[in-house]
């Protein structure tokens, strides 16, 4: 009996540091954002910061961000899924090793890596240099939306590969083999067995790529030549010029609600299990 009590107690107590932590460093800061977003410089309640999302410039930035992040999420998915399948076929040991190889670039600073893409993509950059060696026409993607998408795909691809790979390795090979033995074609096996079983991983991957892509401001600055204003740039500028904190908080609030809604829509598929190595 004594044992039982102490067990219950000690186990529940374990959550307290965490509860304290999220209250102090997640909930309170969010409340502050709400307060800032709903007031003006003089502390008067206003909805202006929220409604200003509707202005032409902000709307345009938001829609462009949405578009670019959706496209890059899709590309990441299309690249990552076959990759995860190939890795699964390599067996656990080799697969894990290659997964490490995918994560390794993330340990180099992402600003440096993104800047290096600039050197690669520039008009007189390395890629164009190589193309001209073979007398091929050069590419002109730097400072365009394409370069931003490339930057997003490059930076966030590992976040898509990892969760998909993690759910795929858990699928028992025997299930796939059984389906094949029962006469299912490769296509049927894929669409009726593999794909449905891997949806939680896909959803995790989409979340982990879409959200940071939607809100980035560094990639658009470095690879977009700062010609393209994304919603992340707008918010960052409001905060870095000092007087725009209230507007910045208001816009962040709208974006946050927006992300939460879209995530809630797909959350029922999200196992959240896949987001590990």
């Amino acid at each position: 009996m004594n044992n039982f009590l102490s067990k219950i107690k000690s186990r529940k107590i374990l959550v307290f540091p965490y509860v304290f932590w999220i209250l102090g460093f997640t909930v309170v800061p969010l409340i502050l954002i709400v307060i800032y977003g709903l007031t003006d410089k003089n502390g008067v309640l206003t909805f202006e910061n929220i409604t200003s999302m509707g202005t032409y410039e902000h709307m345009k930035a938001l829609i462009l961000s949405l578009l670019l992040s959706l496209i890059s999420t899709l590309i990441c998915l299309l690249l990552a899924y076959p990759l995860a399948l190939i890795l699964k076929k390599r067996g656990a040991g080799a697969g894990r090793f290659i997964v490490f190889i995918f994560v390794l670039p993330m340990w180099m600073n992402f600003l440096l890596r993104t800047l290096a893409w600039q050197t690669l993509l520039e008009k007189n950059g390395i890629i164009n240099g190589i193309l001209s060696l073979f007398t091929l026409p050069g590419i002109a993607v730097i400072n365009t939306n394409y370069a931003i998408i490339l930057g997003m795909v490059y930076n966030f691809l590992p976040f898509m590969v990892l969760p998909i790979y993690n759910v795929l390795v858990k699928i028992d090979d025997n299930v796939v083999n059984a389906a094949r033995d029962l006469g299912a074609s490769r296509r049927q096996t894929f669409f009726h067995i593999l794909l449905p079983l891997s949806i939680p991983g896909i959803v995790s991957g989409i979340t982990m790529v879409f959200v940071p892509a939607l809100t980035t401001f560094v990639i658009s600055n470095i690879l977009g030549g700062a010609k393209i204003l994304l919603i992340g740039n707008v918010i960052e500028q409001e905060f870095t010029r000092g007087s725009g904190w209230h507007l910045g908080a208001g816009l962040s609030l709208v974006m946050m609600v927006f992300i939460f809604i879209s995530m809630a829509l797909i959350a029922k598929y999200d196992s959240q299990e896949g987001r590990t190595f």
Partner: protein, 372 residues
């Protein structure tokens, strides 16, 4: 725990360990190198310096530490606008900061700065009187600031890609150079170009004028390759663009680089005839600086002729230190891109702080340009 996970765990832990051991190995090496060099760092207290990125010769910081025993904690910002809220909110306390002209005015107006005790800065005599006079635009009584660097903004052009020698901002609207123009990615610099092109003051607060400038900038946008957030200089050296708006301080670096690759005179600098921005970055001391006396020692140190010369040779931005100027080679003193003469500066203006309302107006119009 199955075997697969043991192997996996080993790999993971090995990687993390590798990372960490690299740190301590490398820092061990750097400690070895430093050993004996600055044994008394910290004995003279501390000094928190907040300066632009890559805006000082690191060895000068070390020399200062060695000579004074003051431990320097050195931090960097990327734009004036980024620096301001950090100082004004008191989020981080610095002893000595190096903002630009208009930002100094804003800080003075908002009571963020402490008066400098010039008895502790005897080397102020090295700073040329004309630069102290220029400073009066934002610090009318020369009480709060000591000039660190100055310069102009102009056009750098690639002679192999541009016909003739441009002398006007209009060339940045020339259709022939579509996709070959680099603009500065900062509100005031970008608007300055438009304002000067249209013959306005670069401190205009007139809404109609500014809207006209905005329209100019929007019209120019299709021709612009990028609003450069990173170095114009590397893009120009690499031949990425034909024309760019650039700070004169970058020119010496560029001249050295292209000289090394045997393309001398390919890149030239001009201050357009309509006039331009004359800027000064100065040392100031925030009001709540915890180590004001050390800050004054720092400023005095930076004004020393030998230090200013050494620093100039590293960062290549024109120095207002006339004693250091006299120490330079004749070639350098006559390099007009670096040290323009008064005639070339006649239409130039110093940025003023325009007040919060105008700030807002500039920012909103700039946002319209950027999102267009």
């Amino acid at each position: 725990m199955n075997k697969r996970y043991v192997a996996y765990a080993k790999k993971a832990v090995a990687c993390v360990l590798a990372f960490c051991s690299t740190t301590f190995l490398l820092s061990g090496c750097s400690l070895l190198q430093k050993n004996g060099q600055e044994k008394e760092a910290g004995s003279g207290g501390k000094l928190y310096v907040y300066n632009w990125g890559e805006y000082i010769d690191d060895s000068i910081v070390e020399q200062f530490q060695k000579e004074t025993g003051i431990e320097v904690i050195y931090d960097m910002f990327e734009t004036n606008e980024e620096m301001y809220p950090i100082i004004s909110s008191g989020a981080a306390k610095y002893d000595v900061v190096c903002p630009s002209d208009y930002m100094i005015k804003k800080m003075v107006d908002n009571g963020l700065l402490a008066e400098i005790d010039f008895n502790n800065v005897p080397n102020i005599k090295n700073i040329g009187q004309q630069y102290m006079d220029m400073s009066k635009a934002f610090d009318p009584e020369n009480k709060f600031s000591v000039p660190y660097n100055w310069g102009t903004v102009g056009i750098i052009y690639n002679t192999s890609k541009v016909e003739g020698d441009p002398d006007s901002w209009n060339v940045l609207w020339d259709e022939r150079y579509k996709g070959n123009i680099l603009m500065q990615d900062s509100v005031r610099d970008a608007f300055m170009v438009g304002e000067k092109k249209l013959g306005y003051s670069l401190n205009s607060t007139d809404r109609a004028e500014l809207e006209a400038v905005r329209d100019q900038l929007i019209a120019q946008k299709p021709l612009v390759q990028a609003y450069v957030i990173d170095q114009v200089r590397d893009k120009m050296i690499g031949g990425e663009a034909a024309l760019a708006v650039i700070y004169s301080g970058e020119m010496l670096y560029i001249q050295n680089e292209i000289k090394a690759s045997g393309r001398e005179d390919q890149l030239k600098y001009v201050i357009p005839k309509e006039g331009s921005n004359l800027w000064i970055d100065s040392w100031v001391i925030p009001k709540d600086a915890p180590n004001k006396a050390n800050a004054e020692k720092w400023i005095d140190f930076m004004c020393r002729a030998d230090i200013a010369k050494k620093n100039f040779e590293y960062i290549t931005y024109p120095t207002p230190n006339t004693a250091a100027f006299e120490l330079l080679d004749k070639d350098m003193r006559e390099n007009k891109a670096v040290f323009p003469d008064q005639e070339m500066l006649k239409n130039c203006e110093v940025f003023q702080y325009l007040g919060e309302e105008a700030d807002e107006l500039y920012n909103n119009l700039w946002k319209e340009v950027k999102s267009n």
